[in-house]
């Protein structure tokens, strides 16, 4: 493979650098910190013509980011986990301002109990805030998605901010070969940010984020955001075509892996999709016709692409690396909803919850998913939510509980 070896975090920083951003308000949080460290260094050395400011919190960071984008600057920022949640009030404001910045979220599970390792409850907590969401599988895709994200966000038909998500640790700290786009070609792909309807200046005073009373204007502006978000599907298609032409790599809103004749399909997102694809290969080697659908764009929800990919299958399993306690997997609900009106909908829908808090997804677990999904397809009855937890993990946990209870158990 050609390209430089770099971590997902460094690829994200390169995305911002190649996008020639003007402004980077920052706040450190594991596992995202390496991104802002790289950007701070580049802004300081003059390698980037951007102003870098360390803010006092993610809440302030997002406010400064949105306000700067609303003033007409191209803005990049990054966070993780608790930081994203701390900023979430502001995410709704920024999208309401129609300020088209790019925010990288390096997924990390949420407290309590507190951890550093990934799952997707953080980024999915931002699901309804009006930011578009692109979830990346590889370091290359992280970099490329940031460039695409700016082009989509800044399109007059969209004018909404975008979150590009990558998994903490598994991608943020994993080195992969990354082919660096040529800066001159990036300029062709991503024209300079010259917004027609944003910017504070003396000659054109305007008011943004103002109070609305009575519900009529509120509903109108919220509808506008929804329609703009839906426009992003078409704008993404155009951006993907242009990107492929210039750089030779193709990204669609969903990615099908060995779907052609697949009876059963596993739906996944983010870095663990690579494990899923390996499991598809292994399962196919046993003569079973399975495939994988990776969701790349989560908002707007690519319902048509998902329906198209899943119609006529025997069974579909959704692996959620998130948990809505008392409900189950978040993406399972959305997949089920968009298949309801599909006449050729799968015979069975199965929900699996795995990889929480960075817990590994073993070959055995993936094998079990395919086996149980095939059985469900034959029975024509879905299962779940199934919480994935191996016997070895259960034994390990028992040991830890014994240690935790130690002194009391002795007495």
């Amino acid at each position: 493979m050609e390209g430089e070896m770099m971590t997902g975090n460094l690829a994200a920083a390169w995305g911002a650098r190649l996008a020639d951003v003007d402004y980077v308000p920052a706040f450190p949080i594991t596992p995202q910190t390496e991104i802002v460290e790289a950007l701070a260094k580049w802004c300081e050395s003059g390698a980037m013509a951007a102003r870098f400011v360390t803010m006092d919190s993610e809440h302030s960071m997002m406010t400064a980011a949105g306000a700067a984008a609303a003033t007409g600057a191209r803005v990049f920022t990054a966070t993780s986990s608790q930081g994203l949640l701390y900023a979430i009030e502001v995410l709704y404001s920024v999208s309401g301002w129609r300020a088209p910045l790019v925010l990288v979220n390096v997924s990390r599970a949420l407290a309590a109990p507190i951890t550093l390792e990934p799952d997707h409850n953080d980024v999915l907590a931002a699901r309804d805030c009006g930011f578009l969401q692109i979830h990346a599988e590889t370091c290359q895709e992280v970099l490329d998605s940031i460039l695409m994200a700016y082009r989509i966000a800044e399109d007059e038909r969209v004018m909404l901010p975008v979150i590009v998500n990558l998994d903490g640790f598994y991608l943020s700290f994993t080195r992969e070969p990354v082919s660096m786009p040529d800066p001159e070609q990036v300029k062709l792909f991503l024209p300079p940010f010259r917004p027609a309807h944003l910017g504070f200046k003396a000659s054109v005073p305007h008011a943004l984020g103002v109070a609305v009373i009575g519900g009529t204007p509120y509903s109108y502006f919220r509808h506008q955001m929804h329609l703009a978000a839906m426009n992003a599907l078409e704008v993404h298609r155009e951006a993907a075509a242009a990107f492929e032409q210039l750089f030779g790599r193709r990204y669609d809103v969903v990615e099908g892996y060995r779907l052609e004749d697949a009876e059963d399909v596993l739906v996944m997102t983010n870095a663990f999709s690579s494990k899923g694809k390996a499991a598809v290969d292994a399962t196919r080697a046993e003569g079973k016709r399975v495939g994988l659908l990776r969701l790349r764009m989560i908002r707007p929800w690519p319902a048509d692409a998902i329906r198209h990919a899943l119609q006529g299958r025997r069974a579909v399993a959704v692996l959620d690396q998130n948990l809505s306690p008392g409900q189950g997997g978040i993406l399972f609900q959305e997949i089920a909803a968009c298949l309801y009106h599909e006449p050729l909908r799968p015979q069975a829908l199965c929900s699996f919850i795995g990889g929480l808090g960075g817990k590994n997804l073993s070959e055995g677990e993936l094998r079990a998913i395919f086996e149980q999904t095939a059985e469900a397809g034959i029975r024509r009855r879905g299962i779940g939510p199934v919480l994935l937890y191996t016997e070895a993990e259960h034994r390990e946990m028992m040991q830890l509980q014994l240690l935790a209870a130690g002194s009391r158990a002795d007495s």
């Binding site: 400011v53 305007h206 008011a207």
Partner: protein, 315 residues
């Protein structure tokens, strides 16, 4: 030598042009709006107001604003961070030649005491530490006013609010002392801080004019006599605002790089004269006079001005 006004010596010198136009949704007799109207006479129109949730949020209610300048509503806790983003973006765009210098704007945070004294402390502290070139205008009506006068950290001892009612356990109503935000700001050593009151327009205009010479954080604490929350007739706002200063409860002062000057030394009328005008203090006088609470308030004022005298002697 006592503090001297250099620019504004007579009331006629205050520009007649208005920059905050009438017809807003704010309460009649809002002392905060009067202070802002006066401040805007110096700030002018080339301004972007960055607002935190509070009474003033209702100034810009779609599709109207009373300003000839711009407006950005942020959140209750992060208006200074919004100011940071706007200021930085304007600087970057001007430096890169994408915005002509003539399009430049002053960035002015508008926050109430609830935001200023508590929720936005982090973002304010951050902005001052980063030496952000901005104005902060706090309209201090000593309560969460927009929600109907609840206890805020700016509420003074003895005031009754809807969440600090006078009761058998707490006959004085509010039991805490007003948080000293001026000193919290001053500890950050910004170039300019001042308190102002709408009934002292020359003092107010002079301070905004003096502040304009400084690059960096310029913070103003504006007494915002509030008929709705303080429970007096809207027509009495000038009298209430005047007595707040004349009793010594609201000192008019400035701090340049941390060095304090009192810009007006009141003869200090008894605090009762101020308290008696307002329904929020009525329980201190009826059904029976709470002499201890009133002396406590008077004692705090006396102690403050003794300190001032002492500090001036030492200087």
């Amino acid at each position: 030598m006592p503090w001297q006004r250099e620019t504004f010596k007579k009331i006629k010198q205050i520009p007649r042009e208005e920059h905050v136009l009438p017809g807003t949704a704010l309460c009649a007799g809002c002392g905060g709006l009067e202070a802002l109207r006066l401040a805007a006479k110096v700030l002018g129109d080339d301004v972007v107001y960055v607002n935190a949730a509070g009474c003033f949020t209702m100034l810009a209610a779609y599709p109207f604003t009373p300003f000839k300048g711009s407006w950005l509503y942020t959140t209750m806790g992060s208006a200074p961070a919004g100011a940071q983003g706007v200021r930085d973006a304007l600087d970057v765009l001007i430096a890169k030649g994408r915005l002509p210098e003539r399009e430049n704007l002053k960035v002015v945070v508008l926050g109430g005491d609830g935001s200023t004294y508590d929720m936005a402390l982090s973002s304010t502290s951050g902005a001052i530490t980063r030496k952000l070139d901005f104005y902060y205008f706090c309209y201090d009506n000593e309560a969460y006013g927009n929600t109907g006068a609840q206890l805020s950290p700016a509420t003074p001892y003895g005031a009754r609010t809807t969440t600090s009612p006078c009761s058998l356990q707490h006959p004085s109503g509010t039991t805490h002392e007003k948080k000293d935000i001026f000193e919290i700001w001053r500890a950050h050593k910004p170039p300019y801080i001042a308190t102002v009151a709408p009934r002292y327009p020359l003092d107010l205009e002079e301070k905004f004019t003096r502040a304009a010479k400084f690059t960096g954080p310029k913070l103003f604490l504006a007494l915002s006599a509030c008929p709705t929350g303080w429970l007096y007739d809207p027509g009495e706002t000038p009298e209430v605002a005047k007595l707040a200063v004349e009793t010594g409860l609201w000192p008019l002062k400035e701090a340049i790089d941390g060095a304090i000057t009192h810009t007006y030394i009141p003869k200090r009328k008894p605090v009762e004269e101020y308290l008696k005008l307002q329904g929020r203090f009525r329980h201190l006088f009826e059904p029976k006079v709470q002499s201890e609470a009133i002396s406590h308030i008077q004692g705090r004022v006396n102690a403050y001005w003794e300190q001032v005298k002492l500090a001036e002697k030492t200087a």
